[in-house]
Symmetry: C2
Subunit: 194 residues, 2 copies
């Protein structure tokens, strides 16, 4: 195989991003996460913050209203435009050489690439709740409620743009419970499959 | 940990049963599949064939009708009775010592057992179709159609009795695509986690 790509899709708070970075370090290949956001922001003209917030989760409120109101006369919304840039950027990156790509529906975008290993990382709610409080601090909203909302928004985005079911094992070569197995074990398993 | 149980849930035709047997051989622990059916048949008074057909898939037709018509005055159907025997048998087996248990919702029945590794094996439809023709021969019905019907019946049974979504990655510690990874690699990964 000419190129070897690993896509890491993950539930918010599951440690998927950390796992992705560690796998890339272990394999001495780039990990596209923040860099991917920068490239998409540059190409699309949107701010990095907008790309980060909007490129894999539906907006915090009014997704359906937004999907209609935000559309231009051609029928495309800002989200649709961002999706097309994001999709093209991921396809281009996959042509450049081996890498790890975290999130942004890369698994679905690259699923017909024979040289792509698709990974899904998930964890029980309580473990993810503890993790997001450690990483992002407390807010007025209980972490479990923040997670449920984020899960809903991520699933809606994924299903809308890929027409695939979010979190279904069949969409991935390997799915791992990082809470039960631990982050290090997940890194070992994924790197071992490469 | 006192006991170590591995449950293997699997899509029909994914090779999950073969993987389960190989894992058990590798680890020198028993694999409950045919023996489980024999025990449940003995305890319930149903034939082995009935247990095999009815203990993890809804009946071939009239599931909803059957669920109502087959119920006794107490509200329990033959399937409900079989489920209760099956559930108790699996809980008892898990108390006896380390083992691999294939199918029969063992993952859901044992999910609160801390010493249980839950595995889901799946594979693309085309690979499963080839496999069931090799193993069970051709029939008048196309293998893809047989698989889709079996998938529907297994999902319906699982969701009815466990209240969990069939095939959702989050219900398992590890989910593997045996078509992409190969059966041997799946055995290595599972045995390596034990």
């Amino acid at each position: 195989m000419k190129h070897r790509i690993i896509t890491i899709s993950r539930e918010f708070g599951s440690g998927g991003r950390t796992i992705g970075k560690s796998v890339a370090q272990r394999l001495h290949i780039p990990c596209y996460d923040q860099e991917l956001i920068e490239t998409i922001a540059e190409k699309s003209g949107f701010s990095q913050d907008y790309v980060r917030r909007t490129g894999e989760d539906t907006p915090r409120s009014g997704w359906f209203a937004n999907a209609l109101v935000g559309r231009s006369l051609s029928g495309a919304s800002n989200q649709d435009y961002l999706w097309s840039i994001q999709r093209r950027t991921i396809l281009e990156l996959a042509q450049q050489g081996p890498c790890v790509i975290v999130g942004r529906c890369a698994d679905a975008i690259l699923k017909d690439q024979a040289d792509c290993l698709t990974v899904f990382i998930h964890a029980p709610l309580a473990i993810r709740a503890k993790r997001i409080v450690q990483r992002y601090g407390e807010t007025d909203t209980a972490p479990e409620k923040r997670l449920r909302e984020k899960d809903r928004r991520r699933a809606a985005y994924y299903q809308f743009y890929t027409d695939l079911e979010w979190g279904a094992a069949k969409n991935f070569h390997i799915s791992l419970d990082s809470g039960a197995l631990g982050l290090d074990r997940c890194v070992d398993l994924i790197a071992g499959l490469y």
